[in-house]
């Protein structure tokens, strides 16, 4: 089972303070510290980061393509969740 290259980790980098961490790829590492350092060296060489999260790839839970219909389509017709659904009297601003 053991892949001698270390386990796979997914890397999320925050590019500026205040912004969310964004997935940017994966990395191998045997332990947490090594994976963190490897992520730093691979994904922030060009001044791209202010913070890094790493997580073992095996710990990611993802929805599957078969779920797409039941998961996401029900949201299609719920237009009342969007502000453009509502009529506002002329002359009202900042709402």
């Amino acid at each position: 089972m053991s892949d001698n290259q270390g386990i796979l980790w997914e890397v999320f980098v925050q590019t500026k303070p205040g912004l969310p961490h964004k997935h940017c790829g994966s990395i191998h590492g045997h332990d947490k510290e090594m994976a963190l350092q490897n992520a730093r060296d691979l994904y922030t060489r060009r001044n791209e980061g202010t913070n890094i999260w790493i997580i073992p790839a095996s710990e990611i839970v993802a929805s599957s393509p078969e779920d797409t219909g039941s998961f996401f389509e029900p949201a299609n017709d719920k237009v009342y969740r969007h502000p453009t659904f509502y009529k506002i009297a002329d002359g009202i601003t900042h709402m």
């Binding site: 290259q5 270390g6 990395i27 191998h28 590492g29 045997h30 332990d31 510290e33 090594m34 350092q37 490897n38 060296d41 691979l42 060489r45």
Partner: protein
């Protein structure tokens, strides 16, 4: 010796330490145990050569004799290089490389931390920037010392061997001479005895934690500050300088 001459020499020491250590690391490019480590080692090598470049530029400006940083890197001979004996030792295996890095990273970490306070503003600026990079280098090499020391019997043995072999070059880093004394008085350089105490604490602590021992009764080797090196430096320079020397005076 004038202060200017002392300062020139002092900058060469700092620069050469980095240049030669960075060169040794760059030899490993594409030869790492895992790909990620290739990237880590080239990163550190780039930091070191970058710092050497800046320090040599400063040295050239102090000398003010028409030489530039490349002249200083590629046209000086063995006896005019002042890097520590430890930095020029060959890589041999990954344990040698990491033990060497760790011993020097710890030295640089405390040295640069002190030099931030230097009254020479350029040295202060360069070491302030450099210290951030070195902090990362030390983190990288210390975690490897831990891994290798505590990993397998083989890795512990190899790391212990590397320590045993390299230990005799460690004292050479702390030698002080006229250059140091003169610049310490001026508040430019730093007292290496202070660095040595801190360095010993860090090294002892890391080795103890990783189940590694410092060898006893080791006969120390000295000479780098007089440009007296081990035989390894000549070969390193032959490789590094040959192209530059083969076509004198041209641009690259």
């Amino acid at each position: 010796m004038t202060t200017q001459e002392a300062l020139f020499n002092y900058c060469l020491r700092l620069a050469d330490n980095h240049l030669i250590l960075g060169h040794r690391l760059s030899e490993l490019c594409s030869k790492g145990p895992v790909l990620e480590e290739d990237i880590a080692c080239t990163n550190i090598s780039l930091d070191l050569i970058g710092q050497a470049n800046a320090l040599l530029q400063y040295a050239a400006s102090i000398e003010n004799n028409g030489r530039n940083e490349d002249d200083l890197a590629f046209l000086r001979h063995e006896r005019h290089f002042y890097n520590s004996l430890l930095s020029e030792q060959p890589n041999r295996d990954f344990a040698f490389t990491m033990v060497k890095q760790f011993l020097i990273d710890a030295f640089n970490y405390y040295l640069f931390d002190e030099l931030k306070k230097s009254k020479d503003l350029t040295i202060s600026a360069l070491t302030t920037k450099g210290h951030k990079e070195i902090t990362y280098h030390l983190r990288h090499s210390s975690t490897w010392i831990d891994r290798l020391g505590l990993g397998t019997d083989e890795s512990n043995l190899r790391t212990q061997n590397a320590i045993n072999e390299l230990w005799r070059f460690t004292d050479d880093m702390f030698v002080m001479d006229e250059v140091d004394k003169m610049l310490i008085t001026d508040g430019i350089a730093t007292d290496l005895n202070i660095i040595k105490t801190k360095w010993q604490n860090t090294v002892n602590g890391a080795f103890e934690k990783a189940n590694l021992k410092i060898p006893e009764k080791v006969w120390m080797q000295y000479g780098s500050k007089q440009g007296k090196h081990t035989e390894h430096l000549g070969f390193l320079l032959a490789e590094m300088q040959h192209l530059h020397r083969a076509y004198p005076g041209v641009k690259w």
